[in-house]
Amino acid sequence: MDLNTITAVERPTSREALRVWRDGDAFLAGGTWLFSEPQPKLTRLIDLSTLNWEPLRATGNGLEIAATCTIAQLDGFAAPPGWIAAPLIGQCCRAFLASFKIWNVATVGGNIVMSLPAGPMISLTCALDGELLIWGPDGRERRVAVVDFVKGPVSNDLKSGEIVRAIHLPLAALTRRTAFRQISLQSHGRSGALLIGTRDAGGAFMLTVTASTPKPYQFRFDALPGADELTARTDTTIANNWFDDIHGLPAWRRAMTLQFAREILAELGGGAA
């Protein structure tokens, strides 16, 4: 929709030109959220697309995803053969409520920075031990794990004037076995629970719970836990902090989470669901 309070647009082409932040500014990545709601407090947009960041770079250390990489670009990524966790990328892209047309515009960084419980790029990057590279307005940089970055619905660790530059997925995470479960109240709807399990070659198991909780939760085990142990720890840790909105009742989200935890454990070799 038209954002009629916007009076100016900056289109920086260098990092130096980014340091113009003032109140009323918004960084514009894909724009698919910014332009989807009235933004009466904003007066200026700073367009990140003109920075022309390379969307994806696979290295010996893992995958570097530019914050401005679109969902379509990420979905089209051809992973090296050893990266057996790569199918998660497609599974998480398909967990978007948004259609493939939005994928052409929406960005990975934008989805993480929105910090909605059902943000599937949060699920993906949390489960793969993703780390964000954050640029400060003063030229400083810092790194933070995605799982620590997202604090709650539309709430995160980003401070005024900071931007997410990139997301790094380490090689170790990309070579883990994975299992994925997702459910929503409608076909292809907004996720009510999205769980990802990973298991590395050494047998370590990790469960990432998203969408059913206001923020992501992660449970790490050096070896496969028992099903009851896994669900008990999940339930105790989340401690009734189940997300409640029109896309799912808390009791349902809890039941789906515990059910999926068992199924994922079974799929990755830990007994019957």
Partner: protein, 902 residues
């Protein structure tokens, strides 16, 4: 900024925060539509450098130096794009408002995407079709027939607007460029109940571009209702164009008129309003109690049943003795059912353009189902002679009852009259949820008793309807709710009590089904329970107890004398659904899921009570074709196709030889409006009569001219065959002109008496009892539509009704919080069915012919919606053993129900 649109360069500067959608419309590409303005509906889909995007989310400045393709540029040269042709051939649209975006998306799909349309089309919402026709189009199936003389009634004649719809040329309400157009934005109340002490307009008036700020001080004192009915005293006079009392969060406080939308919005933000907060009430049963906050301090002239108890209407009816009836019962089910608010979600939001023409006359171009009634009420409210007001619409983007209200025209008229400028008011999608209307939420307690042999002994029903802050449609919706859902059953003892209650919430209004879906959910669920209790198949139980042709129909009262059995096909509908379910076809249930079947029926009066009028004027043109003006509006209901077919059949002409314009008060005559399922059965009758009168005139004149006996003369396409000698119609026109003989005719109708139509729905569902998910593996609806004038369209109408009803049955709910605020005012949080949510429905027709409707037709627009929710609830009951008393039946609630039942 330079941009190429459809191969043509443009050089224009968008505003810094402008989105591509409005920029393209500003450049004249009106095929780019606004359904949500938030990226959810896909109506604005265009290509940016060949890639499909939602143009409402794309900053316009990002189009610099790039190529944009809109629906207007999809056809190359003179030929349609194959996907446009496919949508024409399958008639993959109804109102057509979503169609440009649907075609742009479909044309961009690769083979893999086409193999999974549920996923590929999740970003394209259509509220009319139920997507089967869209699927046919993409699959290349042809559902239309070629138009030829003799192929009128009974044939799959394509909709006249098709070529314009698929190319983006069809003009919806706002698809016009008007010089000097001003824009209206509304400030809406943040309080559920408050009195305005003062409004400081000074800062708003100082905003550059703002030309006027209109408040209750500028509005006429005349009270009216936003509901439009043939007789205006059907509804209470409880509404002002702008009031000094706010009765719900979202009520309009003031209107700002400015040279741009941006300035009008800024003007709204700059208004300073001093409110005196008043106590509010949100629950209808609380609102009925003595001492509850009172919403309307109005006298008897307002026609509010009991203003001190917030009752807009109250009704009671009884026959026999229910206490005795329950004593005689072997089984009794009593339950309290709740049906929540849902929104129509027509893709074209409410909108209107108003201006004063050179003669000083007020013109309103509106998105309405009722132009004639709106004209009368505007004249009443503003104290104008009715000849000084013209209201009209071209193509309307969906209605479903929402546009049987006057919610934009009054403000637009006020602004045009006060400023003298042409003005536009366009609701945002959010305003559709917070400031338009919804279905009436109802709490229905029903108690039904029966003997073991299957005979009903008593039906008792207590209905509390929440009409919201205003009483538009409150009384007639309640009356309808208390009628056919019960009167379809033969039972000696009945008692019904109904209350329609004001609360400080967004007003409810007319909605497809008009009360019947709400009470139908309760009654048909209860019938299913009683059948179980006496161990009888639910369809068999219904067969034992439904009214048969000629029997009295007793609901709140015995049916009014003007309701007759013009035909009766309920028995056939029950048989058809039973046979279809017994066939055992449909999808396989996923392994481990529980399976169950459920059915429900509905009866509906074919026309609203109290008279429903329509006029058609038809004449012969110089080239030997026909032209006509019809009153009824087209909003995807397909009635313009039907009118052409009716005229073509009577005149034995090709449907293509019949041109028409419609829904314009300037055409003369009267039309009550396109509501109450009347576009075919009432307005179509007027067209039939007009065409018959013209046929008689043509044949009389041809007989005189040829000297051939009148009985030997007949119409044959573009000529009259006079005993073997043909006179071309163009020639006949010239002769008539020379003799000053008038070859035009008029047909009219009053909608009295009325008939009844029936629908029966059946589902087989599979339920995952672990997750609460429901998969519909078989869906069938049998309809008693009388003579089906256009089988393709009627089937599509039923499929669309089923889809809309499934949305309400499975997940739609406008949620109002404890302070009266709507918490989910967007398509992202108020999900309507997308392609993947809608199963195929087998549509079957009873073989009947009605003695009242044109060519034996009956109405089939609202009623397919009505039996869907209870049939689904009954199927889920069968699969899970759990009775659900509340809609919608979402997986989380089903899961909760199963868990609670242990």
């Amino acid at each position: 900024m330079s941009v190429t649109v459809n191969g043509k360069p443009f050089d224009d500067q968008p505003a810094p925060g402008q989105c591509l959608r409005t920029f393209l419309r500003q450049l004249g590409h009106f095929g780019v539509k606004k359904g949500c303005d938030a990226g959810d509906c896909g109506a604005c889909t265009v290509y940016l450098d060949g890639e499909p995007v939602h143009s409402c989310l794309v900053p316009a400045f990002r189009a610099e130096g790039r190529e944009v393709t809109t629906i207007e540029g999809l056809a190359q040269g003179g030929a349609l794009h194959p996907m446009q042709q496919a949508f024409l051939d399958a008639q993959g649209y109804q109102c057509g408002f979503c169609t440009a975006g649907m075609i742009m998306t479909a044309a961009a799909l690769n083979q893999e995407q086409k193999a999974d349309l549920g996923r590929a089309l999740k970003g394209n919402l259509c509220r009319c079709t139920g997507y089967r026709a869209v699927e046919d189009a993409i699959a290349g199936r042809r559902d239309t027939e070629d138009a030829r003389p003799g192929r009128g009634v009974g044939h799959n004649v394509p909709a006249p607007a098709g070529p314009d719809v698929v190319t983006g040329r069809a003009r919806f309400t706002l698809d016009v460029a008007i010089d000097g157009l001003h824009h209206i934005k509304l400030l809406r109340s943040p309080h559920a109940h408050a009195r305005i002490r003062a409004i400081d307009k000074s800062a708003a008036l100082a905003v550059p571009g703002v030309v006027a700020v209109l408040t209750h001080e500028d509005a006429p004192a005349t009270l009216y209702s936003s509901a439009r009915h043939e007789t205006r005293d059907t509804d209470p006079d409880d509404t002002r164009v702008l009031d000094d009392v706010m009765r719900f969060i979202g009520q309009r406080v003031a209107a700002v008129v400015a040279t741009s939308e941006a300035a009008a919005e800024e003007g709204c933000r700059k208004l300073v309003v001093d409110y005196e907060i008043l106590p509010a009430v949100f629950d209808p049963e609380t609102a009925m109690q003595p001492g509850a906050p009172r919403l309307h301090d109005k006298g008897p002239q307002a026609r509010i049943a009991n203003a001190s108890r917030n009752l807009v209407a109250e009704m009671h009816g009884a026959t026999g003795d229910v206490a005795q009836g329950f004593t005689a019962a072997d089984a009794i089910h009593e339950g309290t059912y709740f049906v929540p608010r849902v929104q129509h979600a027509h893709l074209e939001t409410l909108c209107a353009i108003a201006w004063i023409d050179e003669s000083g006359r007020l013109n309103v171009r509106s998105s309405t189902q009722v132009p004639f009634l709106t004209r009368l009420e505007l004249a009443h409210v503003f104290g104008l002679d009715r000849d000084k007001v013209r209201v009209f619409c071209e193509r309307v983007g969906g209605g479903f009852g929402a546009k049987q209200e006057m919610l934009t025209e009054d403000i637009a008229a006020l602004a045009a009259l006060k400023t003298g400028k042409p003005v536009k008011l366009e609701f945002t999608r959010e305003e559709q949820f917070v400031g338009a209307t919804t279905r009436h939420p109802m709490k229905v307690t029903v108690k039904i008793g029966a003997r073991r042999d299957g005979a009903l002994t008593a039906i008792e029903m207590h209905v509390v309807s929440n009409t919201g802050a205003y009483g538009n449609h409150g009384m007639p919706v309640l009356e309808h709710a208390c009628s056919e859902a019960v009167s379809v059953y033969r039972c000696p003892n009945k008692k019904i009590d109904g209350y329609a209650v004001y609360t400080n919430t967004v007003a409810a209004g007319a909605f497809r089904g008009y009360g019947l879906p709400q009470t139908g959910f309760a009654v048909e669920s209860a019938i299913d329970e009683v059948a179980r209790m006496i161990g009888m198949d639910a369809l068999e139980f219904r067969r034992c107890n439904v009214v048969r042709k000629g029997e009295p129909m007793i609901g709140l009262h015995e049916a009014p004398d003007d309701v007759i059995y013009g035909s009766y096909g309920l028995d056939q509908c029950l048989d058809l659904v039973q046979a279809a379910l017994m066939r055992g076809d449909g999808d396989e249930a996923p392994p481990g899921w529980s399976v169950g079947e459920g059915t429900a029926l509905t009866m509906i009066d074919t026309v609203p009570p109290g008279g429903h009028y329509s006029d058609t004027y038809i004449w012969l043109e110089a080239d030997g074709t026909y032209n006509m003006t019809i009153g009824t509006a087209e909003f995807g209901n397909g009635t313009s196709t039907v009118h052409r077919q009716i005229a073509a059949s009577v005149l034995n002409a090709s449907p293509l030889a019949i041109a028409f314009t419609q829904s314009d008060t300037d055409h003369g005559g009267h039309d009550t409006g396109a509501y109450g399922s009347t576009g075919t059965v009432v307005a179509g009758r007027a067209t039939q009569r007009a065409a018959e009168a013209l046929r008689d005139k043509l044949l009389d004149f041809a007989a005189t001219q040829s000297g051939v006996d009148r009985a030997q003369c007949k119409l044959a396409g573009d000529a009259v065959d006079c005993g073997g000698k043909t006179i071309a119609l163009g020639e006949l026109f010239r002769i008539a002109e020379a003799f000053v003989v008038d070859l035009s005719a008029h047909g009219t109708t009053n909608g009295i008496p009325r008939s009844v139509a029936f629908n029966v729905h059946g589902f087989r569902v599979a339920v995952n009892t672990t997750t609460g998910e429901v998969k519909i593996i078989k869906s069938v609806q049998a309809a008693d539509a009388g003579t089906v004038i256009n089988p393709m369209q009627c089937r599509a109408q039923i499929e669309g009704g089923v889809a809309q009803a499934l949305g309400a049955a499975m997940f739609e709910e406008v949620v109002v919080d404890t302070e009266g605020r709507v918490t989910n005012p967007s398509f992202r949080h108020y999900r309507i069915p997308a392609f993947a949510d809608v199963p195929h429905t087998e549509v079957l027709f009873a073989r009947t012919s009605d003695e009242l409707g044109p060519f034996g037709a009956k109405s089939m627009s609202e009623s397919p919606y009505n039996p869907v929710a209870p049939a689904l609830a009954n199927a889920i009951r069968a699969a899970t053993g759990v009775r659900f008393y509340r809609l919608p039946l979402k997986p989380d609630r089903i899961h909760a129900g199963i868990t609670a039942a242990g």
